[in-house]
């Protein structure tokens, strides 16, 4: 019973704190760029406004166009239920291991891309195929890193991995270091961050993720944005779970939860800071540099795998 409650709690927490994380990230970035931030709660305001706006459906678009936002949102909510963020061994966790999780993200992506192609506008399709390319190269890298972790812990179930990694005293295995680097690059790419994509751009020709949303408006757009924010949080959560797992407690012992949650929040804040730093320091790559970026990530992941076998850890 408690487990199910915890499950729900985690999902809702992620869902409703995701905008906050996004807002925090944006605020930090503006501060780092010596501009005045609009405050952490801006994302909530945006969503609220969008939800109350009328949403339009472009002519000649099919049911896919309308279905996609909900589908994507649903997918991410499910993911939020599976990844051990607050605690390991949640009831939903066994339903999908890391591989299935990656599959889930892929599913969401495919729906987004199809929805974009449904509109049949030049920019949307442009964004669509760029997205597919980036994803196509990012996915192997992501799985390579996850494989490193699961080879280390002889399991592909994320919560088992976390539980196992927590046991290890010295967690910074060389393989995991490489994996962490690779994972970070993938995170940037998958969440349309600089240097691969720029979430704040207004120049269609350079867009990837934004280009696919051009035809959306009102609640649909809101869902899409929200979904993206959740996705970012989820990725960060996975990163935390894999590389700084301490403080994620087994479901059994919820008692310590009040202690761990603040740690968790700290971790997220730190992640936001790092992201903001990176986005400020790096410049966006040309589109055709991004494959090289991905390739580097992939290679790092592979090196991680190899070093696991070579160094036995």
């Amino acid at each position: 019973m408690t487990a199910i409650l915890l499950e729900l709690a985690q999902v809702l927490l992620v869902a409703f704190l995701a905008p906050l994380f996004a807002g925090l990230l944006r605020a930090l970035r503006t501060i780092l760029q010596n501009r005045r931030p609009a405050g952490c709660w801006q994302s909530y305001r945006d969503l609220y406004r969008l939800f109350h706006k009328e949403s339009l459906q472009a002519e000649g678009t099919s049911w896919l166009f309308r279905f996609a936002p909900y589908g994507i949102f649903g997918a991410f909510c499910l993911a939020a239920g599976i990844i051990p963020i607050l605690a390991t061994g949640l009831p939903l966790a066994p339903a999908a291991d890391v591989i299935a999780l990656v599959g889930l993200f892929a599913l969401a992506r495919v729906f987004q891309v199809l929805a974009a192609m449904d509109t049949g506008t030049p920019f949307a399709t442009l964004g669509a195929h760029r997205e597919m390319l980036i994803a196509g190269l990012a996915e192997p890298a992501l799985l390579a890193t996850l494989f490193t972790a699961s080879l280390l812990s002889r399991s592909t179930s994320l919560s088992v991995i976390v539980a196992h990694l927590e046991q290890l005293h010295f967690a910074l295995h060389p393989s995991m270091v490489f994996a962490a680097a690779a994972f970070f690059m993938v995170l940037l790419a998958e969440n349309a961050r600089i240097p691969v994509d720029n979430p704040a751009t207004h120049l269609e020709l350079t867009m990837i993720h934004e280009a696919m949303l051009l035809e959306y408006s009102g609640r649909h757009l809101a869902l899409m944005e929200w979904g993206a924010q959740i996705k970012l949080v989820l990725y960060v959560a996975i990163g935390i779970a894999l590389f700084l797992p301490w403080g994620i407690v087994p479901t059994a012992e919820i008692a310590v939860l009040p202690l761990t949650v603040p740690i968790l929040l700290l971790k997220f804040a730190a992640a936001a800071l790092i992201l903001a730093l990176v986005e400020t320091l790096l410049a966006k790559l040309r589109l055709f540099r991004s494959p090289e970026f991905m390739a580097t990530a992939f290679l790092l992941g592979v090196v991680g795998l190899l070093s696991f076998f070579m160094l036995g850890a």
């Binding site: 009328e54 495919v110 190269l137 795998l305």
Partner: protein, 660 residues
Amino acid sequence: MISCLPLDLATGALLLWLGLGLLGFLLGGWPALACRLVFPASSVVALLLTIAGFTALTATPDHLQLHGPLPALPWSFQIDPLSGFFLILLGLLAFAVALFATGYFRSLPGPDLRRLMLQYHSFLLGMGLVLLAANAFTFLVAWEIMALASYFLVVTEHEEVGSRHAGFLYLLIAHLGALSILLGFVILAGATIAQGGPFSAMLHAPLNPFWASAAFLLTFFGFSAKAGLLPLHIWLPDAHPAAPAPVSALMSGAMLQMAFYGMLRVDFLFFGKLALWWGPFVLVVGLATALFGVLFAAVQTDMKRLLAYSSMENMGLIMVAFGLALIFRTHGLNALAALALAAALYHALNHAFFKGLLFLGSGSVLHGAGSVAMDRLGGLIRQMPQTAFFMLLGTLAIAGLPPLNGFVSEWLLLQAFLLSPALPQSTLSAVLPLAAAGVVLAAALAAYAMVKFYGIAFLGQPRGTRYVHEAGRWEQSAMALLSLACMFLGLFPGVLLNLLHPVLLEMLGRGFAIQQGLWLTPVSAQRASYSPVIFFLGMAIALGLGFLLIWSLFGRPLRRVPVWACGFPVRTPAMQDSPLGFVQPLLRIFAPLYQAERQADDAGRWQVRIGEPVYRGIYQPLNRIVLWLSAQVLRLQQGRITLYLLYSFLTLLVLLAIWR
């Protein structure tokens, strides 16, 4: 008595198919009647075959011998769990395809129809016989019948030079393949080959390493010629599109798997001891094929060609799993081998379903929109909604996305890969995860290719097709069935895995833990678990709740408006991505592989032509060499009689001199 039921049932079904073929040939005069009568009947027969397959999984293996061409050379048949599984595959696919054909060939003129019916059913017959054959001779005859029948189906539109060329290439490679399979069998069967090389005599044939490897290579060559593995795939992308859609579905979904069946039987049952390098060899070939196939699938502009290349990719994945199974088997890790093998078999069945579905769908597109050239299609989802829906399911399935079936087999495969540390050989176990990464890359690119497939053809605005009409009842029912099958295999993997158990037992002496309930835990719940149903429900609930919530809170009717398109004033279909434009990044990244050359057509538009590197690299030089040789040989015929006399004279003298 019960025990010999499946074989009787199967042979009976095959005979019925033959009869239906002849019936169709006779009824050719009344096309409408023939269509309505023969194809549904044939689908019923397919069901019989499926039942036979199911019973065969549990029944004891069973033999049947008929008097052959020579007393010592019988026609002999057998049925065992392995053939049972593939019979199920064949039967289910043939069932759906026949339903589809009922509607699809409605409008075919009599003479063509009668030919087609005969060849179609002899094709099915050939495949069935391949699965039932119990000695080398029967097997090869069945194999060639299968090849011939499918050849005739490939050249159905024999007015086009293209399809003739495709047919020739196909039959040539198939023939060479058959010859080398024959050689392999001869080596395996040894002296018993004179009795037709009974498979029972080949079981764990004692061979010295050299001959064992020779037999392995020969059979592998022969079967991969049919499976379309690199570099023998050359016929595949031409032959599959040339055939009518139902036939393409069968060729791609079932015939390729016959090759896989052959490999399984030979490599797992006939070889007592496997050489170390076989498994890695197969795995590498498979991986290369998968990547090559998907990269070329992505850049096709013809729906059926794209699907053909994607078949290559899927065969590649199956081969990877197969190779992995071989590796584990070689090191005596039969449990792990069972997992890999299960992945392979699972994927084989999946591929039969979703590839069949997609080929049938493209057939309805051909009928409905009059073309399968993607640069003339677009926005079909509006005029043919049902077809579009089924195709969407097929696309998601083949893209390996949860909770559909394609994902399950890939998941199993990756699980098997992650067990590689169990291998004693450290280098091998270190390299295998890289192969896993390669598999993932192939899968991701496959998603790319298939999204293109669906998006370009069914979404966006029409690129020039008018007067599109939806597929007929028969077609729709067939596609619905196949997509249901995809859903089922995706949601309830446990069912199939339990069915696979006897097959694995036969091949490896052990299966893996019986799956119960909604959970898929091939090794242990700790190790890895996946529950598609819960997965699906969870997503559905989240989706539904979200929808209800948002609708109730902010629900307002949508307003239909013209597309904004960033306020761009003009908007023509040509502004969407073209089939090649969609994959332009790939063209750019893998430029050396594609050898793409751009040239302006008479309308002044740029046309990009993709080269086939294997064809240029291997087949053309080979062709040149052979032709040169023949030119040299023909110099013997100079026309001068004195010269000819000189030949005889010298022959005589040389022989006499040698003898002395």
